[in-house]
């Protein structure tokens, strides 16, 4: 496989579109058939063989346009005294070659690299070669660009030019000063071009890697201590995690009951065989779809966590779960309506405004759940409670909670507080604990994912 295609596949993977080795080989064969000549054909051939979903298609198209763009050059701003600096001659051939390069004009933008090379654009070509030689594609952080720029200049052979520049700067004569100025401008030009090219490669290989790295850090950061910037980033991460969860739990829902013959279907299947049961049809049991009832405390201390849990659950909804959502601080309310009809952020705001202002009372919440929504909970339901169980001294109503636990399939409690603080002060968590199937501390996005994973596992 040629290195251009290999680099492209690496850029694709960095950007988050998976491409396997086998697909890479397909792409190489497709490329051999289609050729480099026609950009549109090449693009669709690569897209057809490498990107295997709508999401991957859009990533592919973006990366293709970036990767197969002409090597970037800095836009030359007219500088004072630039006009009279026609490529001077210094007598040293190595330096002169560099001066010619630095003087190279921008060809028309948007020219594909192949034609730029054919047109004999030596500057782009030299820059691209230097970049390749110092492996600019391995860039990961923006702060590395100065280092790579320097390496590229060295690769281009900047040393004699700089030595000459240094020597001329030391001399007093006006001609030496003019030459020094010219050399300095040439060096700056080259440096700008190198920087521009590095910036382009960084967009391709560095930024997605940095983003992935930051996202990795963010999923392990405590939810309560996240900045709004992190929250925005987390939305995408949660969508990805949720997709993974959905894929894990969305397998087939039919289980064959071995040995139990479906007589009706067996007779029908063998009618053509004179009633001799050649093919047997067995009964199936449909695996039940996970049903989750989320009961969320939305008082101030827990609001950020609720946001996360709901973001997760609603990303899963439809594909794997039947979901009901209730929120409470003192009175419990069904909030599925706004969450399903409004954009997520608006819905959350509405919920926090309508429900989040009371003083927390868990006993009252169970009472409301019992009075108004008891029929939503049956032996197939997993009840997911998110809260710190700080009930401000009110009656925790353990009788109702134990009835709830007896009625539901499982009760999973997620607590944003760490285990050492359970039961301290007005927390009733230890009193609730005996009735919970599962109780866990839930501080980061990974914890939320794990808790939901466990809740869904009970249905597998």
């Amino acid at each position: 496989m040629d290195s251009v295609l290999a680099g492209f596949i690496r850029a694709l993977r960095t950007a988050g579109a998976e491409a396997s080795t086998a697909e890479g080989l397909d792409a190489a064969r497709a490329m051999a058939l289609v050729g480099y000549a026609d950009r549109a054909s090449l693009k669709s051939a690569l897209s057809v063989s490498l990107a295997k979903s709508e999401e991957e298609k859009s990533i592919h198209d973006r990366v293709f346009d970036q990767y197969f763009a002409p090597p970037a050059l800095a836009r030359r701003e007219p500088q004072t005294g630039d006009a009279d600096l026609s490529p001077g001659r210094t007598g040293d051939p190595a330096v002169d070659a560099l001066l010619d390069l630095a003087q190279g004009q921008d060809p028309a933008d948007g020219m594909p690299p192949a034609s730029a090379a054919q047109a004999g654009d030596p500057l782009r070509l030299a820059m691209a070669e230097a970049a390749h030689a110092v492996n600019v594609d391995s860039i990961r952080f923006a702060s590395q660009s100065a280092y790579f720029a320097r390496r590229m200049l060295e690769q281009l052979g900047i040393a004699p030019l700089e030595a000459r520049l240094l020597a001329r700067l030391g001399e007093e004569s006006p001609s030496a000063q003019a030459e020094a100025r010219m050399l300095a401008v040439a060096r700056d030009n080259l440096q700008h071009h190198a920087r521009a090219l590095i910036a382009q490669r960084f967009e391709l290989f560095g930024r997605p890697a940095t983003d992935a790295f930051l996202a990795d850090v963010a999923v392990h950061r405590a939810i309560g201590r996240m900045s709004p910037y992190d929250m925005e980033r987390m939305k995408q991460v949660v969508a990805r995690l949720a997709k993974r969860l959905a894929a894990r739990h969305a397998h087939r829902r039919r289980i064959q009951l071995r040995g139990q013959l479906d007589l009706r279907r067996t007779l029908r299947a063998n009618a053509g065989h004179d009633g001799v049961p050649v093919t047997l049809a067995f009964k199936h049991r449909r695996r039940e779809k996970p049903r989750i009832v989320a009961v969320c405390d939305v008082s101030g201390s827990v609001a950020a966590h609720v946001r996360f849990l709901l973001l997760f659950l609603y990303a899963l909804q439809g594909t794997v779960t039947d979901l009901r959502t209730f929120a409470f601080s003192n009175r419990l309310k069904d909030v599925a309506g706004p969450l399903e009809s409004l954009p997520f952020d608006d819905a959350m705001e509405l919920i926090l405004r309508e429900v989040g202002n009371g003083s927390t009372d868990y006993g009252q919440a169970w009472q409301d759940l019992h009075d108004r929504h008891w029929q939503t909970i049956d032996r197939r339901t997993t009840v997911l409670v998110l809260g710190d169980a700080r009930s401000n001294g009110a009656d925790p109503r353990l009788d109702l909670f134990s009835a709830l636990a007896a009625r539901a399939k499982r009760v999973v409690w997620l607590c944003p507080e760490s285990a050492s603080r359970w039961g301290s002060g007005d927390s009733c968590l230890l009193q609730y604990r005996p009735f919970c199937t599962h109780l866990s501390h839930c501080a980061t996005a990974v914890d939320v994912e794990r808790a939901i994973d466990e809740a869904l596992e009970a249905y597998d």
Binding site: D26, R29, A30, S49, K52, E54, A250, T279
Partner: protein
């Protein structure tokens, strides 16, 4: 492998586009590239996209354009290998044993020992499990076409995961193994087209083995060309108005946007009604051709006026 004759319609990407156009299928570059590569790389194409954008039609048109036989396998829950690969004609086997009973009796009669009778009988077994009694289903039929074929596996997302596993085996080697007979290998690998409406996520293994093509809603220019090919009698002005109306409709907040199949139906409807141009009353009366959901129709009732005016204005601009 034998050198396979490449039909003229598959010589290049442009040739694919042209031959598809000759049977009335307007293909984008993506589509032609996929068909071209599918033939030359011997890989199945998986097509995804909303209903009614021409996924199934691509297979039908490709078969027509290339002069291949079309074999269609409609997937559904519970589809298994006896419906997809092959089945034994049990009834025929039974009938033949009944008819040949006496003949067999005669043959066995002169055997002295049970041993010889048994070995005589054993030699007949192959008779009843031979090609004579084999009922080939679409996958096997496609392998057996001597002159090449297009195999359409429609709505593969409706089948179960176990069927996907079966497909993997058939599609990677283009061969079917029948224990009683042996392995049947395709003389000419069929052009395989799978379609999916994405009702469930297909397995990664299947996706990775296929070329993947996503057909979305067409842009205005492509839609005009498709309509022109499918409804040749439609007047230019009406065509422009119709397309920009449908494009406007898709941009709105609609659960099930009209696809190209619905635009074609609407164009035919308008042609049948001899409508010279769009107007609000006409649109209101024929809206049920475009939109198939009660809630969608209710949703756009109020914006019909602006949408129609916009479409009229757009067509005037286009004609200038």
């Amino acid at each position: 492998m034998n050198p396979v004759h490449v039909p003229g319609g598959l010589a290049s990407i442009d040739a694919v586009t042209e031959s598809l156009a000759s049977v009335g299928y307007i293909a984008t570059r993506q589509i032609s590239t996929a068909v071209y590569l599918a033939h030359h790389l011997r890989k199945p194409v998986l097509i995804e996209g909303p209903a009614g954008v021409g996924k199934t039609d691509l297979a039908v048109s490709a078969a027509k354009a290339l002069g291949f036989a079309l074999l269609r396998l409609q997937c559904y829950e519970g589809l298994d290998d006896s419906k997809a690969l092959y089945e034994w004609k049990y009834g025929k086997q039974l009938l033949y044993t009944q008819i040949l009973k006496e003949k067999i009796g005669l043959l066995v009669d002169d055997a002295d020992t049970l041993q010889t009778a048994f070995s005589k009988l054993a030699s007949f077994q192959d008779l009843f499990f031979s090609r004579e009694f084999l009922e080939p289903r679409p996958l096997l039929q496609a392998m057996e076409q001597p002159a090449g074929s297009v195999l359409l596996i429609d709505e593969v997302d409706k089948s179960e995961e176990s069927f996907e596993a079966l497909l993997l085996e058939v599609l990677s080697d283009y061969q079917v193994t029948i224990p009683e007979i042996g392995t049947i290998r395709a003389q000419v690998p069929p052009l395989v087209i799978l379609t999916s409406n994405n009702t469930r996520e297909l397995g990664d293994a299947l996706k990775r083995r296929c070329l993947h093509l996503h057909i979305g809603f067409p842009d205005a220019d492509l839609e005009r060309r498709v309509l022109r090919a499918r409804v040749p009698d439609i007047a230019d002005t009406l065509l422009h108005q119709l397309v920009s109306f449908v494009q406007g409709l898709r941009a709105g907040n609609i659960r099930k946007p009209p696809s190209i199949a619905e635009s074609v139906d609407w164009a035919r409807t308008l042609l049948l009604l001899h409508a010279p141009a769009l107007d609000v009353a006409l649109v209101r009366d024929t809206l049920n051709v475009l939109l198939k959901r009660e809630t969608d129709i209710a949703e756009v009732q109020n914006s019909l006026g602006p949408l129609t005016r916009q479409a009229l204005a757009a067509s005037v601009r286009a004609n200038d």
